[in-house]
Amino acid sequence: MLSALRKELLLQWRSRAQLLAVLVFGAAALLLFSFAIGPNAAALRQFSAGFLWLGLLLSSTLTLAESFHAEMENRALEGLLLLPASARNIYYGKAIANWIQLAVIGISLVPVMVVLYDAGTMRIMTLVAVILLGSAGLSAPGTLYGAMTSQIRSKQTLLPLLLFPLIVPALLASVKATSLIILGDPMGEARSWIILLIAFDAIYWSLCGLLFGRVVDE
Amino acid sequence: MTGVITGGWNFVVAAYSITGVALIVYTVSLFTRSRHDHSH
């Protein structure tokens, strides 16, 4: 699996211009959200967590669709599957690579959020942890559905359509936890949301890994 | 909540009608689609 992961990371490093473009897209989305609300500093700050995660979610549709693009170009997926490296390793390699990419985008959007919505926090480490857990929640089913939709037409519409209802719990938990971190958490509720995120990640990282083999079977 | 909700029959009728109509329309659609298949 490590070699699969290494290959993925190498591919991503080579296409880092793409990552930059997605980052700009995410930042632009955050900007648009502020125009939707208007110059209402209190409202912007209150909903900043929601905007951050919506921005990340929209960006994920771009990165996840892209992640199987290389394989589709060269029909390399069939070749990969012939190797002893099983489908499961391919899945986890891709999912981890997508996870890292999403986490990078998420963390990079934090300064944008701080500037646009006046939504800073001292609990940086906790915020980073939430972003890591939330991106993991997006990456696991996203990689599975990315593999599916990359093989059919209308892939751009189908991937978000399949993914968005599924990740509602992860989105809810990430937004709530982030919101509590930014706005204050007198009763320590953020912890229960983080536990929900961990449970979601555990369930979907195992379930999707299990099912991936059937999805790419020819 | 204090007090009683008076009236509201419109809503009740709406709910039952939507349910009834949807079920009937779906049943009809099943027959239509099955006939369409058999005529092939």
Partner: protein, 221 residues
């Protein structure tokens, strides 16, 4: 061809008419909710049966992955469609109940919100089926997607419940006058018979189409 679905359709219709008449005209007015609560006599049975169809869809998905027998794919196609129908009905009934009761069309009730989320998930799977022409791939992918969506349902429910509990305290919509169970039971059985008939008839349609697409013979649905 089996006559069972047609018998079930008639039985179901009879039960629903009886149950609804009882619920509308004979059941006593609820103490606080007034007549609006009569919606529950059709809402609760729809909810029970929706749950059953979703479980059945999950069973079909797992069965197909294990047996690769296309009768399960035909049944899955049917259950996805019937579950979508019932989910739309639930959202309509729930909204219509919420407006006079809470003054809003949507009140983020955990149960109704979970139905809405799963409705979108199933619509996505139906869309997926429409875009994949290759029967084996279509069957495998919709089975996988159905399993993932069904596993998500309890998670969605609990997360919305916790999310909602921080804001609103309200009674759940399924409090029903405890003296009058007949309309509830009659409608529940009525919907159940209709639901089974729908799935049987819809599976036949799906199986017929599969027969045109694949060479090997199918077992009867």
């Amino acid at each position: 061809m089996s006559k069972v679905p047609y018998i079930l359709l008639v039985l179901g219709a009879v039960c629903l008419v009886a149950g609804s008449a009882a619920g509308l005209f004979y059941a006593p007015k609820e103490q606080y909710m007034g007549d609006v609560q009569r919606i529950m006599y059709v809402h609760v049975p729809t909810a029970w049966n929706w749950m059953l169809v979703v479980i059945y869809a999950l069973i079909c998905a797992i069965a197909f992955l294990f047996t690769s027998n296309y009768k399960w794919d035909a049944r899955l196609e049917a259950s996805l469609e019937v579950a979508t129908l019932f989910a739309i009905l639930l959202c309509c009934q729930g909204s219509i109940w919420a407006k006079p009761t809470w003054g809003v069309w949507w009140d983020w009730d955990p149960r109704l919100t979970s139905v809405a989320v799963l409705l979108f998930a199933f619509l996505g799977i139906v869309a997926l089926r429409n875009f994949v022409d290759d029967p084996p791939r279509r069957a495998i992918w919709s089975s996988v997607a159905t399993i993932i969506a069904s596993v998500d349902l309890p998670i969605v429910y609990y997360s919305v419940k916790w999310w909602n509990s921080l804001h609103q305290q309200q009674s759940s919509p399924s409090t029903v006058s405890s003296q009058f169970h007949f309309p509830l039971r009659a409608n529940a059985f009525g919907m159940l018979f209709l639901m089974i008939a729908f799935i049987m008839l819809r599976s036949r349609i799906a199986a017929a189409r599969l027969e045109n697409e694949i060479a090997p013979p199918l077992e009867a649905a």
